[in-house]
């Protein structure tokens, strides 16, 4: 349907032009990756062991960073009303918007995970598996963050609410994405199941979160 394509293209353009695309969350992610070793200490073995966890965790934090602004502007400038009254409806509009936002903002996540993995001393294959795991998990992490952002849109202390709502829901994705990298590194042969679980978690979030977000935004309109 071309209307969905039009929403996707427009929101992609707005995410790049208005929101600066991936710059903010990527910088946040990178800063977390660069600072963690200073706290962990210089021991190469420890850093390598901590690598998958730290990298997956940094990616998770980066998805929370822009959650507040995904819908706050649309809620205050009247865009949500127009989407709600359009033939596409609010739920599908929110779905396409979130999809475009995630693509625009989080395409760097697997790249950062790969480079980060190498920097933390992981071998190329393990770093690649970790990057793949985060590539699978990132859309789910971001969809959950977007859902929390929709619930908190326009509220005071939205940031606090977003962290409280999103973080527990993101746990499985964090566990399996980091688990895939660790399994590849330790040679346990469990990277396949971990990757599958990360992907399954992402697909579940993709199927549920947009409708939750739309319902939250609809309630906010009233």
């Amino acid at each position: 349907m071309s209307a969905l394509g039009a929403i996707f293209t427009r929101e992609l353009r707005l995410a790049f032009a208005g929101g600066g695309g991936p710059a903010g969350p990527a910088a946040f992610n990178l800063a977390a990756l660069a600072l963690a070793p200073l706290a962990i200490g210089p021991d190469a073995e420890t850093l390598q062991a901590a690598g998958p966890g730290v990298i997956a965790f940094a990616a998770l934090l980066a998805t929370l960073q822009p959650a507040e602004r995904i819908f706050s502007e649309d809620a205050s400038d009247g865009t949500l009303e127009l989407y709600a009254l359009s033939p596409v409806g609010l739920a599908l509009s929110v779905f396409m918007k979130t999809l475009a936002f995630i693509l625009a903002v989080f395409w760097t996540t697997p790249l950062l995970a790969f480079v980060g993995g190498l920097a933390y001393g992981m071998d190329v294959t393990s770093a690649f598996v970790l990057a793949l795991g985060l590539g699978f998990a990132a859309p789910g992490l971001a969809f959950i963050a977007a859902f929390a952002g929709a619930l908190a849109a326009g509220l005071k202390r939205a940031g606090l609410l977003i962290a409280l709502i999103a973080a527990p829901l993101q746990v499985p994705l964090l566990v399996f994405a980091a688990g895939a990298g660790r399994a590849a590194m330790d040679g346990t042969g469990l990277e396949g199941p971990n990757l599958m679980m990360a992907l399954a978690g992402s697909l579940a979030a993709l199927a549920l979160a947009p409708f939750g977000a739309a319902a939250a935004l609809k309630a906010r309109l009233e």
Binding site: A3, A6, I7, R10, R13, L14, A17, G18, E73, S76, D77, G78, T79, E81, L82, A84, L85, S86, P87, V88, L221, E222
Partner: protein, 209 residues
């Protein structure tokens, strides 16, 4: 200008009670609007004009009563203009016209009508309040929807733009469309019916405190 003739069903509102923030704004409100009619809802701030418009657009559920109006026939203009700072006037109009199934070929004449032609490539973030409002009104005109719900459509407009708005409304009504505008000022629309909304009399002491 859109020459498509509209034939919406008459709008009928009956026994409506609207609440906002636990306070009753309107009770027992009824209204009938025929195709081709322009209606001005006049009332002071806080009298429930905006909530009434939002209820008619299906954006707010009324506490009681019936509204016979399909939200899919509505073009809605709220307080905010729904413009994005980084989008140009033309991009915005083209997107919404396309999404609402409007006729994109009438984009140029509508922009001329609303004195936007010279602003087509400007990003909406650089527009004045009046220019933003004119852009939002052009979006309404391009939406190909028979029922226009306009909330304070003329607030930031100068005299000439108000005249442009009045002529836009007249053309829409002549094509069989319905225009319902909420305002606290005189819009100067010749032939428009005026409905005065009084503040709700049922205000409890607890509600005021």
């Amino acid at each position: 200008m859109s020459t498509a003739a509209f034939s919406p069903s008459p709008i009928s509102v009956s026994g409506l009670r609207l609440e906002r923030g636990g306070k009753t704004l309107l009770t027992g409100f009824s209204l009938d609007v025929q195709p081709g009619e322009a209606l001005v809802l006049l009332g002071p701030n806080g009298s429930g004009k905006t909530t009434l418009l939002r209820a008619m657009g299906g954006l707010v559920r009324p506490a009681e009563g019936e509204i016979s109006l399909d939200p899919q026939s509505v073009a809605f203009l709220g307080h905010a203009d729904a413009l994005k700072a980084s989008e140009t006037v033309e991009q915005s109009l083209r997107f919404w016209a396309g999404l609402y199934g409007g006729d994109v070929t009438t984009l140029d004449p509508v922009m001329v009508d609303m004195a936007l032609a010279h602003l087509a490539r400007r990003t909406c973030g650089t527009l004045s309040a009046g220019q933003k409002r004119r852009t939002a009104l052009a979006r309404i005109a391009l939406s190909n929807r028979p029922v226009w719900l306009l909330d304070e459509p003329a607030a930031p407009l100068d005299a000439r733009s108000r005249a442009r708005l009045a002529s836009l409304v007249r053309q829409h009504c002549e094509a069989g469309g319905i225009v319902i505008a909420a305002t606290h000022v005189d819009l100067g629309w010749a032939g428009a019916r005026v409905e005065d909304l009084r503040p709700a009399p049922t205000r409890t002491a607890a509600g005021v405190g």
